[in-house]
Structure formats: C-alpha cells, structure tokens
C-alpha cells in the first residue's frame, strides 16, 4: 500500500511522516532528487559567485574613481588614470551599426523563411543559418582582418567619404582618415555575426502566428506582402523585438572579431571610419599586460559593466519572446 502510494508521489499528495520519507530514501527517489537539486543549485551558486568576484575584484577601481569612471574620457595606464567612456561609446556605436545592418536583413530573411519558402527549403536554409551561428568568432575575426579590412581601406571607405561624406548632418560619420579598421568595420563584422540569431528566433516567432490571421487578411483582398507586413509582423512584433535584444546582447559582448578589426584606440571620434575600442576588446587586449593592481581592477570593473548590460538585455529579451509565444503579442 505504502509502496504504491510513494511510486505515484507526483500524482497523489506525498505521505507525511518520517517513515514515508525513509521509504522513499531507500528506494533512491529522495537521493536522486537531492543529487539533481544540488547540481541545479550549483548553477545559482556559480552565477552568484560570478557577480561576487566581479564586484570584489573591481573594488579598488570603484572606490578610486566612483561614478566618474563612466564619463571619464582618459584611459592612461602610465598615470593610473582610468575612465570607461571611450569604451562604452565604442561598444554602443559598433552595436548600433550592427543592428542597423542586421535587423532589416534578418527580418527580411525570417519573413522569407516563414511566409514564402516551401517548408523543405526553409528548413534547409535555416539549418545552414544555424551553421553560420556556430562559426567561432575568431574565424570571423580572421576573415575580418584579411578580407573586410582591406576592402574597407581600398574600396568601401573612399567610396563612403566621397559620397555620403559630403552630405550635411550624417556626413560627419564618414569623414577623416580611413584606415580600414574602425567602428564601421567592427559593426559590419558584428552584423554578420548576429544576423543568424535574429533570423532563427524571428522565424520561430513568425511561425507561431495563427494561419487564420493570414487567411483573413488575404480574404479582405490584401496582397501577400500586405498580409505579411500589416498583419503577421505586427502580431509577432514583441517576439521580433526579443530577437533584436538577444542580438544586441551578443553584439555588445562579442570580443574576438571586434578586437581584431576595430583598431584599438581609446578615443571618441565622430567618424565611423576612425579606430576605437569596445569594452570587450579592451579587456581582451590589455588584461594580460595589466601591471598595477588599479589597472587590473579597472579592467575588471569594465567586465562588471559589460556583465550588467548584457544581464539586463538578456532578461528583457527572454520576457519578450516568452510573452509572444504564449500568444500575448497580438496588436492592441
């Protein structure tokens, strides 16, 4: 009797009392439960420890510079004067460039895959795009250095300077010396790296839009494109936003490819063609050379900043994607 009740423990309320517990213990259920629970708890412990270590090891820099760390434009290891402003700027600019290029491209591809392409072709292309997402970032960096940078230096850069550079307002972004390395190059490489994430998440979300929505739009005389753009995409917009946030989080934290093509200069320049640095690329470049304690501590504080930014973005992205997949994304 007791055995039957305990084996169905998840369906009937578990029997109270030490005897029932001992019985489950003998059967191994409680041991397995506790064992797996321990390992689940390890994940929480690791994540807390990660935050703790970043916080403690950046103590020196936090007390020395305070909030001024965020807007100080100087990064001078020789005089132990550190400010994160150039790197925060670089991180935001490269990610912005990446999103400007990647979002239209990714969304268009996702629309093609979910609305137009036959299921078989769509699956094959999605598989190839997943492979693209699996390419290590150092490989992107390698291609960036030897393919994209020369192309920017000899062709794209001069072209931009001579055309868009002459325009009022946005021309500022495309003036000045052109080295091939810089914000724009890093942004382009980042765009290629995050496009697969936008596509695969957006495609999933678009596929959850009910078929009736499309049929209703078509029945009212909408063209295929009108039904897609005015009905299907708005329905899925929350999830698409989620995919963009996810891509943004990846772009902000991306290290190797950016380090290899951004030119590594702690400077804030208006021109996208100028060399710069991001938070991640600075850590990658300087961490092993950091001689003083304050230097190291400042680099770790950069890591803390990066962690917090991506932490918040990832959280938001998850909430948005889950909200759409539960059907909460319908236009108001």
């Amino acid at each position: 009797m007791s055995a039957a009740a305990t084996t169905l423990a998840h369906e009937v309320p578990p029997q109270a009392g030490p005897r029932a517990f001992l019985h489950r213990l003998r059967q191994g259920d409680e041991i397995a439960h506790l064992l797996t629970l321990t390992f689940a708890a390890v994940i929480l412990l690791l994540t807390s420890l990660l935050v703790y270590e970043l916080w403690v090891n950046s103590h020196l820099s936090r007390t020395q510079f305070g909030w001024a760390f965020f807007w100080t434009k100087v990064w001078d290891p020789n005089f132990d004067n550190f400010g994160a402003a150039p790197f925060i700027y670089g991180t935001l600019v490269t990610s912005a460039v990446a999103l400007v290029l990647a979002v239209p491209l990714g969304l268009a591809s996702a629309i093609f895959l979910s609305e137009l392409a036959p299921r078989k072709i769509s699956d094959i292309i999605s598989f190839l795009i997943d492979l693209l997402a699996a390419v290590p970032s150092v490989i992107y960096g390698l291609l960036g250095i030897f393919i994209v940078v020369p192309l920017m230096r000899t062709t794209v850069g001069p072209l931009l300077i001579n055309t868009v550079g002459n325009l009022p307002y946005i021309g500022v972004l495309f003036r000045g010396p052109n080295y091939g390395v810089g914000f724009l190059t890093a942004g382009i490489v980042l765009a290629i790296m995050v496009v697969p994430f936008i596509i695969s998440v957006s495609r999933e979300v678009l596929l959850t839009v009910p078929r009736e929505q499309r049929e209703a739009a078509m029945a009212l005389g909408a063209t295929r494109w009108e039904s897609t753009w005015q009905v299907v995409v708005p329905w899925a917009r929350t999830g698409i936003m989620g995919s963009v946030f996810l891509a943004l989080a990846r772009a902000l934290g991306e290290t190797m490819a950016v380090t290899m093509v951004i030119g590594n200069a702690a400077a804030i320049k208006a021109s996208l063609l100028a060399p710069g640095d991001t938070i991640a690329s600075t850590i990658a470049n300087q961490f092993t050379e950091a001689t003083g304690d304050l230097y190291l501590s400042s680099l770790i504080e950069l890591g803390l900043v990066l962690f917090l930014i991506t932490f918040i973005l990832n959280g938001l992205a998850r909430i948005l994607i889950v909200a759409t997949e539960r059907g909460g994304g319908r236009p108001a």
Partner: protein
C-alpha cells in the same frame, strides 16, 4: 485610378517579396563565402607538418601547431568533465523533479549565464583559479570553458527529457519501478540521442572560444608541462598569428582556421545526424 493603385500594390508585393528572398540567400551565401575563403587560403597552407610539429621560433618559416591541437583537446576534455555532469543532472532536475518557483529561478539563471559574454567568463575563471595561485594554467582554461558548457547542456537536456511521452513514465511506474529507476532506465535512454546531441553542440561551441582562454589558459609555444601550466589552444593561436606581422604566421592562421572550422562544423553535422537517427528509431 483604381487600376493604378492596384498596379502599385501588386508591384510593391513582388518587389518586397523578392527582396526578402534576396536577403535570405545573401545571408546563406556568407556561409559559403567563409567556407570558400578558408578552404582556398587554409587548404594551400595546410601540410602534414601542421599537425605534427611545434611552432618555430619567430622569423623561421615552417613548423606547425601540434601542441595547440592537443591543447585544445585537453581543454575540451576538462570542460566536458566539469561542465557536462552538472548540466546533465541540473537538466534532469528541471525536467523530472523541479517544483515551480525554484525551477523558474534555475531556468532563468541558466539563460542569463548562457548570455554572459565569454570574456566576462574569462575574468571569472581568472579570479577563481589564476589569481589565487598567481599563474595561468590549463585548469583555469578548462574551468572557463566548463562554465560555458553548463547552460547549453542544461537547456538541451531538459528539452529532450520533456519530449519523452508521459505514458512511458507511467508504464514504468505501473510496473513498480521507483521514480529514479524510471528516469535512469526508461526516460534517460529514450532521450539519450537528443541529450548527446546537446552535449556535442555545447562542446563544439566552446571549442571555438578564444576570449575566455586569453588570460586563463594563456598560450604556450611548446608542449604543456601539465594541468597547472599554461597551454596552447587553436583559437588563441589563430588570434595571435592573425594579428602578428609575419606572412608565414598568417598562412598558418588560415590553416588553423580551416582545421578549427572543420572540427566545429563536422561536430555540428554529426550532432544533427545522431538526432535524426534517434528520432527515426
């Protein structure tokens, strides 16, 4: 007037739909461009020496990356030993035992850990392992990669365990098996194909990671002297060689890139193959 409006709407329809197709094929063609460039540049630089010799001193041409290939394998071994069990058991907890609130917290934390930039994981492993003993080690690199393996394994394990039909569990329990016996002998074997795929994909992902190794495993131009010493790895070698000013190093970086990409893509394809077969059974 209406005809003109209709013409405009139809034209817009065709133009935009064509553009979406162009976008999709442009993205896919990037994959083939990458493969093509690596095969072209890496293939010509790849030789038997690459797999068997140590790097030559600066200025001398030739040599290979045998130590980096072995080093990468060692680091992956460490990552697998440390990360996979945690990921597997935590995944089993979430799918089979988890309550409501605690599971939600674990799941959420796992996703966040998955999104932590790899360079930050590197700092974490640095402060955990390198800082106390004051020098770089293979162990530190293994810890960094191991941490990255965990969240990917957790989520794939949970997903595939949940896909096992509930009536298989009920059948085992109806025959008198205890809960853990059901999980160990019925549910896990049924999901093993998927779980294995997830593990392979997790390892394939960290195999290409460079950032967390820069200041944990560091690098080494010779054979590693043990787990407590710096060790070479393929991704870090590609980085160092690509940014160095020597043509011969650039050639070797391409060769190493080809080998690394080959490994990563092959394990991805292998994982899909396992999954397809286990689904067919």
């Amino acid at each position: 007037m209406i005809a003109l409006r209709m013409f405009w709407r139809k034209s817009l329809n065709y133009v935009m739909l064509t553009l979406t197709g162009v976008a999709a094929f442009a993205v896919v063609s990037v994959l083939f461009l990458i493969l093509g460039y690596l095969l072209w540049n890496g293939g010509t630089s790849l030789s038997w020496n690459f797999f068997t010799q140590l790097p030559k001193p600066v200025g001398e041409t030739g040599g290979g990356m045998a130590n980096a290939i072995v080093g990468s394998l060692k680091l992956l071994f460490l990552a697998a030993v440390m990360g996979l069990p945690v990921g597997l058991l935590a995944g089993v907890y979430l799918a089979e035992f988890g309550g409501k609130t605690f599971s939600f917290v674990v799941r959420y934390t796992t996703d966040l850990l998955n999104g932590v930039p790899s360079i930050v994981i590197g700092i974490f492993a640095y402060s955990l392992v390198v800082l106390p003993v004051k020098h770089f080690s293979a162990l530190a690199g293994g810890v960094a990669l191991g941490i990255m393996v965990i969240p990917i394994t957790v989520r794939s394990t949970e997903e595939f365990l949940r896909a096992v039909p509930g009536n298989m569990r009920e059948a085992a329990m109806a025959l008198g098996a205890s809960r853990w016996k059901t999980i160990a002998t019925v549910v896990l074997p049924a999901a093993s194909g998927g779980i294995l795929t997830g593990m392979l994909l997790a390892l394939a992902r960290v195999a290409g990671e460079t950032a967390p190794l820069l200041f944990t495993a560091f690098g080494n131009r010779f054979w590693s002297q043990g787990w407590g010493q710096p060790i070479a790895s393929l991704p870090v070698m590609i980085y160092t060689y690509a940014v160095a000013p020597y043509d011969d190093w650039h050639r070797q970086a391409w060769a190493a890139g080809l080998v690394l990409l080959g490994l990563v893509l092959l394990s991805n394809l292998g994982a899909r193959f396992i999954l397809a077969r286990s689904k067919a059974v």
